[in-house]
Symmetry: C2
Subunit: 404 residues, 2 copies
């Protein structure tokens, strides 16, 4: 095994468990005798280029275990997407510090960055082992049954809709909840786990895997409202028309784009407000409310799936074992075994880099306004223990005397 230093970084949107992967990889990396030091880059690849790194070699185990529990990226993150010049800068820093093992925790964009850096090192004859560790609340990585971060965000979304369902039963009306997810609807679909009783919401679920038609939507809402006297709707922020244009752009004059060319969808309540106004004006329903769950979905302190925590830790550990223990570059792919365990396999980073997995057809109903029981079966084991039993008062009606 080649001696040298290991470097770890976190990229893209933070999650509730990305620090579990960080801590898993750091603790495992430190256990190998041929590792001189374990560095952490601040704010992802940006910290490498800027030579902004910290030395995690003597970070106490106690503090690492605390860090593992908190949401967000403890090293800081970035949205930078390295091009060839950027990678040249990265390679220079890695070489200057004798870094021989590079770990990048992130989603499809970060795995692509990891791939580019690995290829660039190989082309320039620098012996580097580059390993991607999966993470994304969107659950949209190819080659993975699911990804760390998604189950905890899904638990938040399910808890939000379960509470909203009860609130809306107390004061009936129409409620629109907008959930994160640009191309993949997994997180929006998780709202289905809020249901226990037959008339529980969400009553309608709209995903970016299907074209969104406003007239069809209004017809669905009208029909559910007539049936239940109320209607709760889960909508992905990424819903789009038949041309692929996000519905949110129909409203906003100026559209903000990130370094990857993506339209900004989060951090604004515009989509919920647009849909609420459509329902009020076209269906004449008075009490219509919209919430946009926003950053709370990925960062809320105290809502986490214990299954997700363990798996994120294990993904980080396995990355260190494969890279430092066995000298393998690549990515760690999570494969489901039975009902339910996970096998953490080494895979080629090209299998996930810059690719997007969306929901399988079998998870979406033909009407394109709900998910199937197969999706709920898929998601259930990831969420860990339910926070509460669902319950309703069961007492009989009192016989009327005056209005009998």
């Amino acid at each position: 095994m080649k001696p040298g230093k290991a470097l770890i970084a976190q990229g893209g949107g933070p999650t509730a468990v990305i620090n579990q992967s960080l801590v898993g990889a750091v603790l495992q990396a430190r256990s190998y005798g041929h590792i001189d030091a374990v560095y952490g880059a601040l704010h992802g690849v940006r910290g490498i280029v800027d030579e902004e790194m910290i030395d995690l070699t003597y970070e106490t185990n106690l503090n690492l275990e605390r860090i593992a529990q908190i949401p967000s990226s403890a090293l800081g993150s970035t949205r930078d997407k390295p091009d060839a010049d950027y990678c040249k800068e990265i390679a220079k820093v890695l070489q200057a510090h004798d870094i021989r093992y590079f770990f990048y925790i992130g989603g499809n964009d970060s795995s692509d960055a990891c791939r580019i850096v690995g290829n660039f090192a190989k082309e320039s004859g620098y012996d580097l082992t580059a390993m991607h560790i999966p993470k994304t609340i969107d659950n949209d990585l190819m080659a993975n049954d699911h990804t760390p971060g998604f189950p905890s965000a899904a638990k938040f979304v399910a808890g939000a809709f379960a509470g909203v369902n009860l609130d809306n039963r107390s004061l009936p009306g129409v409620y629109v909840g907008v959930v994160m997810g640009r191309h993949a609807g997994f997180l929006t679909a998780a709202s289905a786990m809020a249901r226990t009783f037959a008339d529980d919401g969400p009553h309608l679920i709209y995903l970016p895997e299907r074209t969104f038609d406003i007239d069809k939507f209004l017809g669905d809402v009208k029909s559910m409202y007539e049936k239940h006297g109320r209607c709760i709707i889960a909508v992905s922020e990424g819903i789009h028309d038949e041309t692929g244009a996000p519905i949110i752009t129909k409203l906003q004059e100026e559209v903000e784009r990130d370094a990857h060319g993506n339209v900004q969808l989060s951090g604004t309540g515009a989509l919920a407000d647009l849909l609420v106004n459509e329902i009020k004006s076209k269906l004449g329903i008075k009490r219509v409310r919209g919430d946009t769950f926003g950053y709370l979905q990925r960062s809320f302190l105290g809502v986490v799936s214990e299954v997700d925590q363990k798996e994120a830790r294990e993904a980080g550990q396995m990355a260190a074992i494969q890279a430092i223990g066995h000298g393998n570059s690549g990515t760690i792919a999570m494969k489901r075994v039975g009902n339910y365990a996970v096998d953490f396999q080494l895979a080629r980073v090209e299998e996930v880099a810059a690719l997007t997995k969306v929901m399988a057809d079998e998870y979406i109903t033909a009407e394109a306004n709900d998910v199937t029981p197969a999706f709920c079966d898929y998601l259930r084991p990831l969420l860990g223990a339910a926070p509460l039993d669902a319950a309703r008062l069961l007492s009989p009606k009192v016989s009327k005397i005056l209005k009998a």
Copy 2:
């Protein structure tokens, strides 16, 4: 003690613990031999007028204990505000069913309804004991140190800002979080509990107790952003200009009002979007995001203060003891004892009915953009156990080689 039936109802916005008060009152009421039955009105006073009631006398203790755990109003709620005619209808129903004890769990509007019903019964010579049980996430009831429902909503707000603070450290920028609260800023102020380290957000807090000036606001944000390289802002939905007009009405063409004449503030992301656009356009900061916490604050399944749960239960129990055990009408007022216990005292309903408590001057800084340590001391014991230890990586910086 006069024999007869007891009736309980829930009014106004649901909370995480309003069912604790329901269950506390029902269990205690059922223990008295002179109570023939305990009824529950569906959807507050509306259910009385419509004679829509259920008989809770034989609801199992097991199911009641499950109900106590879930957020929202298990009996359903209403925004109806009874006038004289409405009360005449209520009195007729109470008389027809021989209801001699009436409990109404709610905020200032519901306590006023309770007062009107009680007075009307007295004037018409019907022997009725009317008892109000405090509840409101706004924490704006007079005569109370604090009110059931507020601590759990405050815990949600603190957890949200603690997570957002970590998320925003990972990917720095400006973040605006809009919190419920029309006239009283207690819930927005609870965001201060998200702080541990000196540079933790929220860095600015705006309350409806003070006039909101957009230029002062932009100056504050600019200064904090320059200091920290990021800025997290907690804003009450009720912020208003010097005329008292809500800032949100500056944007919306059509304004929705409820039966009490209040402008609709919740269920829309308009205020956050307005402030975000001001910051982007006037300060030229690129990454600016806004979230509106919305209904999740009062309904999220699984976030609750165990202190709040116990106190809500006790308020319900004490209401039954005072009304059924001692024949007293009124309200239960929560008084703080030492640091920390609560004394549940009988008080006159006129002390709380239709009145609004706002934050004391000593809880708001002179700059009107933050809360004082005294407020944090006030709030701390109400929140129960912290979900997590705060933590940061403590490792030293790596010495630069290339950019030294």
